[in-house]
Amino acid sequence: MAYSDKVMDHYENPRNVGTMDNDESGVGTGMVGAPACGDVMRLQIKVDEQGVIEDAKFKTYGCGSAIASSSLVTEWVKGKTLEEAGEIKNTDIAEELALPPVKIHCSVLAEDAIKAAITDYKEKQSS
């Protein structure tokens, strides 16, 4: 499969790979996908007191597009408020990475991962 240069760049030099302590305050974790489907994304955000995402980390099991999509969104969410981050659309990701149609689901998964991380963070704050 021919990938765009941007996918190859994120795949070969993934940004923000890592794990945060899920018990730490201000950390939200989103894990989406399923091993049986060939992709699992774990996206973590660290939110400061002003509600701004100060750091993001990911780990992804999946194809090159899945890795690139999750790497890209960790870059995008940093510095954004939760509200702004929640507005990232899969189409933006797919467009930025020039994903072929058969790989659109990877960008959908990345959008889901952000939303899941935000939801997790909010649930922790309210409990």
Binding site: P35, K59, Y61, C63
Partner: protein, 404 residues
Amino acid sequence: MSSPIYLDYSATTPVDKRVAEKMCHYLTMEGNFGNPASRSHQYGWDAETAVEEARVNVAALINADAKEIVWTSGATESDNLAIKGAAHFYSKRGKHIITSKTEHKAVLDTCRQLEREGYEVTYLDPEEDGIIDIAKLEAAMRDDTILVSIMHVNNEIGVIQDIEAIGELCRSRKIIFHVDAAQSAGKTEIDLQQLKVDLMSFSAHKVYGPKGIGALYVRRKPRIRIEAQMHGGGHERGMRSGTLATHQIVGMGEAFKIAKEEMVDENKRILALRDRLLTGFNDMEELYVNGNLEQRVPHNLNLSFNFVEGESLLMAIDSLAVSSGSACTSASLEPSYVLRAIGRNDELAHSSIRFSIGRFTTEEDVDFTINLLKEKVDKLRLLSPLWDMYKDGIDISTIQWNAH
């Protein structure tokens, strides 16, 4: 960038230079270009001689009579001709066929077509090592079973079926036995004087011959009849019409002749390379061999690198030409049906790589492969949340995943 190291000999092989050289003499005005069916002049007679010499060479590799070889366009056509041809010819005897779930698509899709025509097909599940249990095959046989089609060597996992025992069983029940031998010719011994196989499919391009040519063995004693699928000038004793492709046939004959001469030594060398490859991965965690390792051709090694997705691994090892059972490498987005049929879970199917070794593989190629795989699998595992969970002692099969 230099060409990737070729480790996909089960997909196809390069034409051996000796074969290509010989083929060149059967194309141009200066060469032997005649139509083997032309009976009225020297050009036709010479072409016919070349075709018959090739037929003898193909028959010799499998210890058959040259009269039992029918030229086709490849193993797919041979499978179609054998299965549809026998099913149609013997349809008055019954309409039940038995095959297995790990057969090549050329067999499975042909059986599906026969189901649409009113035949009934039983698809056997192989055991977890990929081998068919003879008792289960026998249990599936019925009074109206007319045909059993089981491959000799599997294209994905390289396991060798016990076609000797299956042949005995079929013969005792008067059931016709077809074997797809595309992946076994030249890789393991085939003796059709001993084996009770009635129909056998062959391909040239898996044996260092050209693409676009194959053969079907049709037994004469006891005589097996098939209905033609291609009608026309009555070539190949009416079983397969169409002008014979002399240069392709000569290529297949030469390739099979070389295979007969060199197979024993070549297999020893290739087995040593495969053992070297597998030993090189010995210290890796969560590595699984797919399919029986003993009852297997030396050329094949199918491994699953758990917690790493196959397509991303292929991207990382793009200096190798290998294939994967991952969904992402197939048009259907389904993981390998062969690995699923032997009970591998989706994760292991997604993370599988087939290495197939051949005539031009070197020790350096194998060593390079080992080092590259280790480095890239480690890198991708550090990216993998599943690997994290495994390392933390979490059993991922107990997690409720949201399948999408």
